[in-house]
C-alpha cells in the first residue's frame, strides 16, 4: 500500500493519541505494579538474632497483606538489604531509594546506624519506618524534627518499667545493687536510668559495682567472680543476646542465683534460652513490646505465635512485633490517605500525614505513632516462673505498661522527665 498524505496524517494522529494514552497511563502503571518495600536487616554478629526476628515479622505481615489482596489492590514486593556499619547501610539505603525506587524502607536495629539513616532519609525524601535502635544520646541532636523518618519506641522505656517494678516488688528487700550492662550507649543509659529511678523512689540502695562486658561476651567467669566479691543484693542487667543465658548459667554454677535478686529489662528477646535449669524464679524479666504467652492473646497474636512455631520451631520474640507494626501502619496510612483523596494512590507527603497519630492493631495490641514520629506501644514484664509447659521460664504475673507511662514525652530530657515524677 502506498502512503498518501491523508493516510500519513491519519497514522500520525493515531500515534499521537496512542502516545497521549501512554503518557496518561504512566502514573496508572506505577500505581498498579507492586509496592516496593525495602528492608534493612542485620544478618551478622550479635544483631543477627533480632534482625532475623524482624525479618520474620515483616514476611508474615507481607504474606498476610498480599494474601488478602495487597494495599489498594497492589501486592507488596520485599527488597532485602543488609544492615551493617552506618556507612555501608547508608549506601544500601541510597541504592534502595534511588536505584530500586522503593516506596518505603523499613528496618534498622542499631542506634548508630539509625542516626545515619535518619539524616539520609530526610535528604532523599524517602519514607523510613524504623524497627528499633533509639537510645537517647544523639537522637534529639541528629533527628530533631524528622519528616521522613519514623522512630521506634525509646530504648530506655524498658529500663524505666523494670525500675518501677523493682520498686514495686523488691522495696525493702535489697540494700546493695550492681550493674552488669553491655558496654555501649544502650547499656550505659539503662544503668543511669535505673539508678535515677531508684533515687527518685527513695529506695536507699547503694551501688557496689558496675561491670561493662562487651556486647556478645561468651565468658563471664571473671565477671561472676567480681560480683561474688562485691556481694550485691540485686543485679540489674540490660544484656539482651545469648550473653544473658551464659551469664545466668555461670552465675548459677557459682551459687549466685539462690540469694541474689535479678532484673533483666529486655532479656525476653532470648526467652527460650533462659532454661529453668539455671534461671531463677522471681526475677524481673522484660519482653519489650510483645509477650508470646499472654493468658488471653488476641486472635492476631495467637495466629502469629502458631504460624511462627510451625515454621521455625521457636516461640516468637518482640522484634517481630516492631516489624509487623511498621508494615501494618504503612498499609493503614496508605488506605487512610487514599480515602481522603477519593481512592487514588496517595503521595509520600500524604502518607506521612496519615501516619502521624495513626493507631493500628499490632501483635502486642494497639500501637500508634505520635505526632513527633515516635511509636507508642504496650510493654510486658513480670516475675519469672517455672509454672509452664516449657523448659524455659515465663512470667507471672504479667505487668503491662504503656509508653505513655514509661516513655518520656516529646521535647523533654529523660532525666528531667524522671525528676518531674510525683512518687
Amino acid at each position: 500500500m502506498t502512503t498518501t498524505r491523508r493516510n500519513f496524517l491519519k497514522g500520525l494522529g493515531g500515534a499521537a493519541v496512542a502516545a497521549g494514552a501512554r503518557l496518561d497511563a504512566a502514573p496508572a502503571f506505577a500505581q498498579s505494579g507492586p509496592i516496593k518495600v525495602g528492608a534493612l536487616v542485620i544478618k551478622a554478629g550479635v544483631g543477627a538474632l533480632p534482625g532475623e526476628y524482624g525479618l520474620r515479622g515483616t514476611q508474615w505481615a507481607t504474606d498476610r497483606i498480599n494474601a488478602s489482596g495487597g494495599i489498594l489492590g497492589r501486592k507488596i514486593e520485599l527488597l532485602i538489604e543488609e544492615e551493617s556499619s552506618p556507612k555501608d547501610t547508608v549506601e544500601r539505603f541510597r541504592k534502595l531509594a534511588l536505584q530500586n525506587k522503593v516506596d518505603v524502607i523499613v528496618g534498622v536495629i542499631s542506634t548508630g546506624v539509625g542516626l545515619a539513616i535518619g539524616q539520609v532519609a530526610e535528604e532523599l525524601k524517602t519514607l523510613w519506618l524504623a524497627w528499633d535502635g533509639t537510645t537517647q544520646k544523639g537522637v534529639e541532636e541528629t533527628m530533631p524534627t524528622p519528616k521522613y523518618a519514623f522512630r521506634s519506641v525509646d530504648n530506655e522505656a524498658e529500663a524505666v518499667m523494670s525500675s518501677i517494678l523493682t520498686a514495686k516488688y523488691f522495696r525493702g528487700k535489697f540494700k546493695t545493687v550492681a550493674g552488669l550492662n553491655p558496654d555501649y550507649s544502650y547499656g550505659r543509659d539503662n544503668w543511669a536510668a535505673f539508678l535515677a529511678i531508684m533515687k527518685k523512689y527513695n529506695m536507699g540502695v547503694t551501688p557496689v559495682t558496675d561491670l561493662w562486658p562487651k556486647l556478645g561476651t561468651t565468658d563471664f567467669t571473671s565477671h561472676v567472680a567480681a560480683l561474688q566479691q562485691a556481694k550485691p543484693d540485686l543485679i540489674f542487667s540490660s544484656l539482651w543476646a545469648a550473653d544473658v543465658s551464659i551469664f545466668l548459667k555461670q552465675a548459677h554454677a557459682a551459687g549466685m542465683t539462690a540469694n541474689t535478686k535479678f532484673v533483666f529489662p529486655v532479656a525476653g528477646l532470648v526467652h527460650e534460652t533462659l532454661k529453668k535449669a539455671f534461671t531463677p524464679a522471681g526475677m524481673i524479666l522484660g519482653y519489650n513490646t510483645m509477650y508470646f504467652e499472654m493468658a488471653n492473646p488476641s486472635p492476631l497474636l495467637r495466629q502469629f505465635t502458631r504460624d511462627h512455631y510451625e515454621k521455625y520451631k521457636e516461640w516468637p520474640s518482640y522484634e517481630s512485633d516492631h516489624a509487623y507494626f511498621v508494615i501494618a501502619a504503612y498499609k493503614a496510612a496508605v488506605e487512610r490517605a487514599a480515602k481522603a483523596i477519593g481512592g487514588k494512590w496517595p503521595s509520600t507527603d500524604q502518607i506521612i500525614q496519615a501516619l502521624e497519630g495513626i493507631e493500628v492493631e499490632s501483635l502486642s495490641g494497639m500501637r500508634s505513632y505520635r505526632k513527633d514520629h515516635i511509636m507508642e506501644a504496650n510493654f510486658y514484664q513480670g516475675l519469672t516462673t517455672y509454672k509452664n509447659k516449657y523448659d524455659f521460664v515465663t512470667i507471672e504475673p504479667v505487668e503491662v505498661m504503656t509508653t505513655k507511662q514509661i516513655q518520656k514525652p516529646s521535647g523533654v530530657g529523660l532525666y528531667d522527665w524522671i525528676n518531674s515524677w510525683k512518687v
Partner: protein, 286 residues
C-alpha cells in the same frame, strides 16, 4: 584469678592453632576462630544426639572431645583451598582467611540458624567445689586441665617425637626438608589439621559453660591476636604465656577497674611491640 585462668585455657587452644599453622606454613589463619565456633555448634549437636541415644551424662567430656576431633576432618579440605596462597603476601592470606570466616558464619547460620544454642545445665554434671564463700564448677577445672594437658602434649610432641622434629625442620627450612625427603605437602596437611583440631576441640570443650553463637569466633580471633603479639608469632610457649597474661589481666581488670578491661590488655600489647617487637618467646614452632 581462676576465672582468668579459665579464659586463658580456651584462648590458648585457639591461639595455639594460629601459632602452629603460622609457625610451620607461614599462613596467618584467621579462620581458626571459625573452627572454634564450629566446634562449639557441632559439640552441642553431638551431645544432644548422644544423650538422646541413651549415653550417660557423665560421658559429656568424652563426647565433646570426640566431636572436636571428628570435626577436625574439615582441616584437610580448608588446607587444600589455602594451598593456593602459600608464599603469597600476608595481607592477601589474611583477606582470604577472613573470607573463610564470613563463609563459615553463613555455614553455621545455614545448619544451626541464628538463635544461640546451648546445653542447659550439663555444665554441672561433674559437680561443684566449695571453698569458703566461693562455689566453683568442677567443669571449669576440667577445661583448665585440658588446656594445660594439650599444651604439654603439643610441647612434648614437637620436641621429642620424630614427627615433631620433621615439623620443626619444615618450619625452619621447608626446601631443605623437602630435599632430605620430607613430604612437605603431607606435613602441611597434618599440621593444618592439628591446628584445626585445637580450635574445634577448644570450641567443643567450652560449650557447656557458654552458648554457641555465630559471632563467637570473630571475638576470639581478636583476643588471640593479642595473645600472639605478646607471646610472639609462631611460638607455642608464647601462646601459652600470652594466653595466661591476657586471661589473668582481664580478670584482674574486671575485679578492680572494669572500665579498663580492654585498655589493660592492649597496653601490654603496645609495650611488647615497643620493647620486644618479636614477642616474649619469638621462635618459630618451638
Amino acid at each position: 584469678m581462676l576465672g582468668g585462668v579459665f579464659h586463658a585455657a580456651t584462648l590458648f587452644l585457639v591461639a595455639a592453632g594460629l601459632q602452629l599453622v603460622f609457625g610451620v606454613q607461614r599462613i596467618v589463619n584467621l579462620a581458626c576462630g571459625s573452627f572454634y565456633a564450629l566446634g562449639a555448634y557441632f559439640g552441642v549437636s553431638m551431645v544432644k544426639w548422644a544423650l538422646d541415644a541413651g549415653a550417660p551424662q557423665l560421658l559429656l567430656l568424652a563426647i565433646l572431645l570426640a566431636s572436636g576431633v571428628l570435626l577436625a576432618a574439615i582441616g584437610p579440605v580448608v588446607e587444600r583451598v589455602l594451598r593456593t596462597i602459600y608464599g603469597r603476601d600476608e595481607s592477601f592470606q589474611m583477606l582470604l582467611t577472613f573470607a573463610l570466616v564470613l563463609m563459615f558464619e553463613d555455614v553455621i547460620r545455614f545448619f544451626w540458624g541464628t538463635s544461640p544454642h546451648q546445653m542447659g545445665n550439663l555444665y554441672l554434671v561433674y559437680g561443684q567445689l566449695k571453698a569458703g564463700d566461693l562455689t566453683i564448677p568442677v567443669y571449669n577445672f576440667i577445661v583448665i586441665a585440658a588446656g594445660g594437658l594439650i599444651a604439654a602434649l603439643m610441647g612434648g610432641m614437637l620436641r621429642r617425637t620424630r614427627w615433631g622434629r620433621i615439623v620443626r625442620a619444615t618450619a625452619e627450612n621447608p626446601r631443605m626438608s623437602a630435599a632430605l625427603g620430607v613430604d612437605i605437602t603431607r606435613v602441611y596437611v597434618r599440621v593444618f589439621t592439628l591446628g584445626t583440631a585445637l580450635g574445634t576441640v577448644g570450641g567443643a570443650l567450652v560449650i557447656p559453660v557458654t552458648a554457641a553463637m555465630t559471632e563467637m569466633g570473630i571475638d576470639l580471633i581478636v583476643e588471640a591476636f593479642a595473645v600472639v603479639v605478646i607471646g610472639g608469632l609462631g611460638s607455642m610457649r608464647g601462646a601459652f604465656a600470652g594466653a595466661l597474661i591476657v586471661g589473668v589481666l582481664r580478670a584482674v581488670a574486671i575485679a578492680t577497674y572494669p572500665e579498663v578491661e580492654m585498655l589493660a590488655i592492649y597496653l601490654v600489647v603496645i609495650a611488647v611491640l615497643v620493647i620486644r617487637p618479636a614477642g616474649l618467646f619469638a621462635r618459630a614452632a618451638t
